[in-house]
């Protein structure tokens, strides 16, 4: 067998871009040509904008990774590679020599994503070959308190959003008295626009298992649950394979690695409720109930699943554990800031060039994340805002782009670090519409227990809808602010307590845009269809009839070489004329 390996990224994003066809084509080609090379699956290296992605390795040219691969192009590239010729297709990363995105990886530090897109997530030997499960071996030889001290010293803070010290939380569960304890992995990742956890679950499931086994051993738990949203079928599949393999190899189950430590791990699939990401609701859901949050205290560490001491951490938090045990707390602390150590994974999406997953040391500026790692704006329109923290977060304007990525600095802007979704918006995005979008989301997802969250968010949504439809009044802004304060005060869980944030931050940084909607009945970004008007500029129109032919409702009149006109009563504001006109004669406003 030659050493040549073809690796195709077949995570959800790769599959959506057609990686399945690429994989089958290579498979066919190998058997047709009786090639002596191996073909393996891997997950996502985070460059969603380049999917499908294929890596070739094993020849003198070193590892070469190509992007935007098609079923045809891959065969040509493979032939080139095997013949020792330069690759004529799009090379995005190269071990030796230049490639389009080599510097994108250089600006990152990959701890959580270390194996994603590198190993085959369905292969335990692949994980072991990268040093997998050595941390578990080390931990099993340590005093349990020492493990907790190491995690405390590393400064690791929960990556699920709130940023509480993981070591301290482990300490509470360790100290809790009880004959039975649980550990839970929160893989509910409900924040729309975030997919860090999905990538880790799909791409490196054993790292979660190893982290959880170490945590369970340290805290004295013998049973664990991974609560994964059902929208991630591939993640669930990979987790199931990983758990079965790890049990067989003695990394999970009874008497792990010959010690008297036993740990059983189960998967629970979510059923589509955002609020189940909240820890008390999540536990209710595991117990088979409606996922309604309950008041804390008691905290899960005292009384969690079925009333037993329970420790819940986020996927990314768990994924850091084995690295910290292997490399020590000091090594971890050398990345990041004093109070926010280590790295953070971000999911870059929206109007950004390099959409995908990246991992950077804490302490870099948001500007660097967007422009250096994210490649800047995708569209010609300039940057307007970046949304952090999803429905609990806020929109950060240009002026605050030099804010550094750490929990406390981001909180000061009114947004939150959140779980790591970063949705970039350009001038073509309407901030009132964005606020309305999030309120619609939280309003839908409110479990209904607290009156302010249930009805207050509905009132806010109604007001925002009115504003986007041009029916807003100036006093609406005061009402929004009052409702926001009351919802924050009157809600039991984080969902309600943070639901007003998207409205408050847009009011704070983009108040002008609200005023334009209310006072001038105008949507500056040209998004809110009720306020939109398309008009033809008589100075620019040459009467080419292109727009009239494109209009789906035939509301544009005018004959050849005459200035055209849009009948505003009939216009459905689809924008077809606007994108068709080559002379910039259709004005949107």
């Amino acid at each position: 067998m030659s050493n040549v390996v073809v690796k195709v990224g077949v995570a959800s994003c790769g599959l959506a871009a057609g990686a399945g066809d690429v994989f089958s084509r290579v498979q066919e080609y190998i058997s047709e040509q009786k090639l002596d090379i191996s073909l393996v699956k891997t997950a996502c290296i985070g460059m969603c904008f380049e999917e499908p992605i294929v890596a070739l390795s094993g020849m003198d040219a070193g590892t070469i990774i190509m992007g935007k691969v098609t079923a045809d192009s891959i065969i040509e590239s493979l032939d080139d590679y095997l013949a020792g010729n330069p690759i004529r297709q799009r090379v995005i990363l190269a071990e030796k020599g230049d490639a389009i995105h080599n510097e994108l990886l250089a600006n990152q530090k990959r701890i959580v994503l270390r194996n994603c897109g590198v190993i085959n997530p369905e292969s335990l030997p692949d994980y072991e070959a990268t040093g997998g499960y050595t941390a578990l071996r080390i931990a099993l030889e340590m005093e349990r308190e020492d493990i907790i001290t190491t995690i405390k010293d590393s400064g690791l803070r929960g990556r699920g959003g709130a940023g509480f010290s993981t070591g301290m939380k482990w300490g509470f569960a360790f100290n809790a008295v009880g004959d039975k304890k649980y550990v839970v992995c929160n893989a509910d990742e409900g924040d729309p626009g975030a997919f860090m956890d999905r990538s880790v679950l799909e791409g490196d499931p054993h790292s979660i298992l190893e982290g959880m086994a170490i945590g369970a051993f340290a805290m004295g738990a013998d049973e664990g649950y991974i609560y994964c949203r059902a929208e991630y079928p591939l993640a669930i599949k990979h987790l199931k394979i990983a758990i079965a393999d790890a049990e067989q190899k003695g990394y999970l189950g009874n008497n792990i690695l010959g010690t008297d430590f036993s740990f059983d791990l189960h998967i629970k699939e979510g059923a589509g409720a955002f609020v189940c990401g909240e820890e008390t609701a999540l536990m209710a859901s595991i117990e088979g109930k409606r996922g309604m949050p309950t008041i804390r205290p008691p905290f899960p560490a005292e009384s969690g699943l079925w009333g037993k001491p329970t420790n819940i951490n986020n996927v990314e938090t768990w994924a850091n554990i084995s690295w910290i045990i292997n490399n020590g707390a000091d090594a971890y602390k050398q990345y990041g800031t004093e109070k926010s150590t280590g790295t953070k994974v971000f999911a870059l999406a929206g109007k950004i060039k390099n959409s995908g997953l990246i991992e950077v040391p804490m302490g870099v500026t948001i500007r660097d994340v967007i422009y250096k790692v994210g490649g800047g704006m995708k569209t010609e329109l300039p940057f307007k805002a970046v949304q952090l923290g999803g429905p609990s977060g806020g929109c950060i304007p240009e002026a605050l782009l030099d804010t550094i990525v750490d929990y406390d600095s981001i909180n000061k802007t009114g947004a939150i670090m959140g779980s790591g979704g970063m949705v970039v918006m350009d001038q073509g995005t309407c901030m009132v519409d964005v606020a309305r979008f999030f309120l619609n989301f939280t309003q839908n997802e409110s479990c209904g227990k607290c009156t302010f969250c249930r009805i207050g968010t509905r009132r806010m949504l109604e007001i925002l809808t009115n504003i986007t439809e041009g029916k807003g009044k100036l006093e609406d802004i005061t009402t929004l602010e009052q409702l926001a304060t009351n919802i924050i005060k009157g809600s039991l869980c984080g969902l309600g307590q943070t639901a007003p944030n998207p409205v408050l931050t847009t009011l704070k940084y983009f108040r002008d845009e609200y005023l334009a909607h209310i006072e001038e009945k105008r949507c500056p970004a040209g998004v809110c269809t009720s306020l939109l008007r398309y008009e033809i500029d008589p100075e620019k129109c040459i009467g080419c009839t292109a727009c009239a032919r494109k209009c789906p409702v035939n509301c544009i009149s005018g004959s050849v070489k005459q200035v055209h006109n849009i009948d505003q009563d009939l216009c459905i504001k689809c924008g077809a004329c606007y994108s068709t006109c080559k002379f910039g004669a259709v004005k949107k406003g």
Partner: protein, 166 residues
């Protein structure tokens, strides 16, 4: 007679599911998920049967079934289209695709299944493929960077296949 036989056969399936989960009330959610996989929705008589078998009140079961958005008490169409309207998809134009599909299928936010039971169209918040926004799932296949034209074309392909079969 035939339909009575069918009903008995399907209840066998429910019993099998119940047994698989040890008739354990803490496994209500996976039980309902399996039932829904079998029937494509949660028929009322099955819910009552499950509640009695698990020794919980029908209200408790109904409470769980209505809390989670994946559970449907209404039958769904043969083909399920799910358009993502998460943040990333929203800012990259999912609304236009949603409007186009609803328009074509004669559906709305409230009415999600066509009268001929061929299509159900739903919106979901984030499928985790935000890098390829906007994202549309047609049955099991995920499609990225979908425009209204692409979506309508995908729809058309299914309609044509169905016509060929008919």
């Amino acid at each position: 007679m035939d339909s009575a036989n069918n009903a008995a056969r399907s209840f066998n399936k429910v019993i099998e599911i119940l047994d698989r989960y040890d008739r354990n009330a803490s496994k209500i959610i996976p039980i309902l998920q399996s039932v829904q996989e079998e029937y494509r929705y949660l028929p009322q008589e099955v819910l009552t049967f499950v509640a009695t078998s698990l020794n919980v009140s029908p209200a408790r079961l109904y409470g769980v079934a209505t809390f989670y958005s994946h559970f449907s008490l209404e039958p769904k169409g043969k083909h399920i289209l799910k358009m993502c309207d998460g943040t990333a998809c929203h800012v990259r134009g999912s609304s236009a695709v949603i409007d186009a599909l609803r328009d074509k299928l004669g559906l709305s936010a409230k009415k999600i299944t066509t009268d001929d039971m061929l299509f159900t169209f739903e919106t979901v918040s984030c499928l985790g493929a935000c890098g390829l926004a906007p994202v549309l799932v047609v049955d099991e296949a995920i499609h990225g960077q979908v425009t209204p034209e692409v979506a309508l074309q995908l729809l058309d392909e299914i309609v044509q296949k169905e016509q060929q079969h008919a």
